[in-house]
Symmetry: C2
Subunit: 328 residues, 2 copies
Amino acid sequence: MVNKHSITAKAHPNIAFIKYWGNQDNSLRLPSNGSISMNLANLNTVTTAAISQGSDHDSLELNGIQQSGPVLVRVQQYMDQFRNIFIKHEHLDIKSTNDFPISAGIASSASAFAALSTAAANIYDLDLTQNEISALARLGSGSACRSIPTGFTEWKTGNTHEDSYAVSIAPENHWNLWDCIAVIQSSPKDVSSTQGHNLANSSPLQYARIKDAARRLDICRNAILNKDFETLAEIIELDSNMMHAVMMTSKPTILYWQPTSIAIMQEVRQMRKNGIAAAYTLDAGSNVHVICNGNDIQKIEDLLVGIAGVNKIIKSPVGSGASVVSLT
Amino acid sequence: MVNKHSITAKAHPNIAFIKYWGNQDNSLRLPSNGSISMNLANLNTVTTAAISQGSDHDSLELNGIQQSGPVLVRVQQYMDQFRNIFIKHEHLDIKSTNDFPISAGIASSASAFAALSTAAANIYDLDLTQNEISALARLGSGSACRSIPTGFTEWKTGNTHEDSYAVSIAPENHWNLWDCIAVIQSSPKDVSSTQGHNLANSSPLQYARIKDAARRLDICRNAILNKDFETLAEIIELDSNMMHAVMMTSKPTILYWQPTSIAIMQEVRQMRKNGIAAAYTLDAGSNVHVICNGNDIQKIEDLLVGIAGVNKIIKSPVGSGASVVSLT
């Protein structure tokens, strides 16, 4: 065993084509339905973990700011859960940076817990498989498990902690898809994803959404494997609408869409009528992710920046999974 | 029998609190779920019917313009169905005027067929009950049956032509509610309501929406009877979201909402947080109906006209049912 002082791991957020919304088990984050996503190469969370010298708690520095309050508590509870599994006792000093806005519909918690679980597994010298790390990432944030394997990944629901993880269904170089994110709001959301997941079952439509999920997953997986953009476009727009349908019919209702979100969704449908390979999908937020063919990216960006209310465009091709980038 | 030369009938459109979307029988327009609405006193369709002298077809003048094409065909097919039931042969010359924009999310077909069925029943000298006229109106446009009785009305699904009609659940003076309609688009819709109804069952969410309808109808009916605005607000917003959830997940998906629709929906939720009795509901279109307490109408109008994209406000208190206004 090398005597490591610190481990730095990197992970990308992912954008879901078939969405995760609602749990069959909230504490283990076992999802109600399977999901499929693509990792985003140009967005990065880089997290360094070091064994804390003599401290009785984990510390967290996020984007240069030492954390206290709910963000720190969430990470500490996660690390306690992590240590319980492996009977570890040392606390960690964690430093994490994101190069994209957090809590605004870009899944920062996914890359955060993917990078943290990877760093923690290594600093504690655990010899884990990718599936095991994916399951651990899931405990922090469900969709984080999809940021562990490479490229296009699928998270099968599973029934226990051990068998609920994501696997790669196609590598990052399989298909030149890009996510062109129209950022329309960078401030934190009214309702966090974790709160929203707990409300999912209060929608009279959630059960129907889950019951139909295997069908949507099959269509989406095959569209990726066959590089069939038109089929992919239809199923991801349907699935995004379906998740927001559940949100807007839960108790209380959640309406993440803003006027600009609708303007973009309508524009993307028009683009496709005009022969541009583009499809929209929205996570739990108001930003619109325009999934598109790499060849069309400039045309799409030009059209999106012309829409009132679009603050910024973030573009990314398909990304790799989580990895250790350095140890000292 | 008086020898009538012509009959003029009047009907109001209605705004649904619990929506009609999808049929169990398309040709008879037997709905998949019951619905509740309020008639709109300030919006009027006035229709005059006269027995055509020797013509072998019905004619239709709409808002001063002699009709041909699909609008005429729809009315002719309706009148053929109507005559078949009563074994009548004479065709009609029909003149109809609306004082509000047609085919833009304000249910012009409801008041149109409510007025026409009332006029036709009288010009043919049929001695019909209100329930029978309501069922006949339904054959022309499902929601038209709700414009026959007065005030707040409920349409129970029924299983046959004869038992699928609407009845009044509270008279027009029961509660000082207003509909404050923010008109944001007066052009005809991409997808007509009739086409949309036929797509309803292609949504994986429609069955769940229908299965939950009895619960929503009970809550809405009781909220009206008890004049409980907060409960009414929550259930009509939920029900509107639920119908649009089905629309946006049908095959193909239909997205009636425009950016301004969302801006208004968000504003109405904010109004309610600020203690104003207002709730939104949208029919198959982009206009937003703000249901509100008559005392708050001026405040609400002032807020709505300040929203970019709102072209016009149409206001109406609760209206009566359909009636004959003159005969010559």
